[in-house]
């Protein structure tokens, strides 16, 4: 974790060709102070009752998100909706194993989401590698790269387990503990170092929201 008092120099987006560098943000994310008292409680209630998930299937577990939309499981009754763009969504469901190639997209999508943003990691692979524990191209712990609010175990978890996970996330948000965005900003250097350790060809902006 970064504990240095001196702020490091801004990352220069050096993975990008020079003509594109000016197009992207070059300021590190900052922490946002929550509102005070009952106002924040009200906001948190609204956030928890209106979970828009990013419709981005990052692994085989994404197949379990589809049944949630059907009449049998019907996630809409819990205020859960899929959204196609990271700008509008507030929950990122990591669908199982994340290869390094996918991790690049996960990081970019996560950073493009507007805070407060929440992450549900689904399946054993996101927790400790699962059945891909010895794979050369699959990360073992997603929480080294982006902050995770709650995990759903199983390989695969059933849609019921997913709904239970969403209820758990609601409790976390209502308790005011869903501060992944601030955690990411606070430990930004640590997360970036971890990401760059596994993503060998970093050809994307360093700050891309």
């Amino acid at each position: 974790m970064s504990d240095n008092k001196l702020k490091p120099a801004p990352l220069p987006n050096e993975g990008l060709p020079p003509e594109e560098r000016g197009l992207f943000c070059d300021v590190a994310p900052r922490e946002y102070e929550p509102a005070k008292g009952i106002v924040e409680d009200f906001y948190n209630w609204a956030r928890s009752e209106s979970l828009w998930i990013l419709g981005f299937g990052t692994g085989c577990g994404a197949i379990e998100l589809r049944p949630l939309m059907t009449s049998r499981f019907d996630m809409y009754r819990f205020g859960i909706q899929p959204r196609p763009t990271p700008r509008q969504s507030s929950v990122f469901v990591i669908g199982g194993y994340a290869s390094v190639k996918t991790l690049k997209r996960i990081v970019r999508s996560y950073e493009q989401m507007m805070g407060p943003k929440f992450v549900i990691a689904l399946g054993s692979c996101t927790i400790n590698g699962g059945m891909y524990w010895d794979s050369y191209n699959t990360i073992k712990r997603i929480d080294q790269y982006i902050p995770v609010d709650t995990y759903i175990t199983g390989c695969m978890p059933r849609p019921e387990a997913l709904l239970a996970g969403f209820q758990e996330l609601k409790k976390i948000i209502k308790a005011g503990k869903g501060e992944g965005q601030n955690e990411y900003a606070r430990n930004f250097d640590w997360y970036k170092a971890n990401q760059k350790k596994v993503i060998k060809n970093w050809n994307m902006p360093d700050y891309n929201w």
């Binding site: 190639k101 590698g129 050369y136 073992k140 712990r141």
Partner: protein, 177 residues
């Protein structure tokens, strides 16, 4: 089918014809003749469809075995054409002019096994991996577990059970003792 086996043997020195099933056979040819064999099979033998092409790392013999799966739709027969190439500095004739999709398989083999196909389009580009800087990872002397341990952080507390012993202990605790 033996007629075909004989023709291939006479023309290209094909050997080890093996009928796996009624509709599937395999044959081995010399690596220098692989392109001619495939071209003849496509134009004269009726095997017009390249289902896939892949490689197998036979590290014990020091060779990569390339496999081209062809299909004759008229006869409903598939033929696996094998050819062996040495593991050091492997280089094989490209078949992208015979089948348009061939360059994709060759790009895949170049990235995964390091088998070169001179003249194949985009053969040196990345295929599925991005920024891979190790030896080709499908070679069997690449230690996946060691690489994974060195690169990716492990969550402590992971244990592995022998499935038979574990289930025996769980289901029949008295028998396990």
């Amino acid at each position: 089918m033996n007629e075909l086996a004989e023709k291939l043997a006479v023309r290209y020195g094909a050997r080890d014809w093996h009928d796996q099933r009624k509709d599937l056979a395999s044959v081995m040819v010399d690596i220098l003749k692989i392109r001619d064999t495939l071209a003849w099979l496509r134009d004269e033998g009726g095997y017009v469809h390249l289902s896939f092409a892949t490689a197998i790392d036979n590290i014990e013999r020091g060779v990569f075995t390339l496999t081209y799966a062809l299909r004759n739709h008229e006869r409903g027969h598939s033929l696996m054409v094998h050819a062996e190439v040495s593991r050091d500095n492997p280089s094989v004739d490209s078949i992208h002019l015979l089948w348009g999709q061939g360059w994709t398989y060759q790009r895949e083999m170049k990235e995964w096994y390091g088998i070169d196909f001179p003249g194949s389009p985009r053969v040196d580009e990345e295929f599925v991996l991005e920024g891979w800087d190790q030896m080709p990872m499908m070679r069997r002397d690449f230690d996946s577990l060691a690489y994974s341990d060195a690169t990716y952080t492990e969550r402590p507390g992971r244990v592995t059970h022998d499935p038979a012993a574990h289930m025996k202990e769980k289901l029949y605790p008295e028998a396990a003792k």
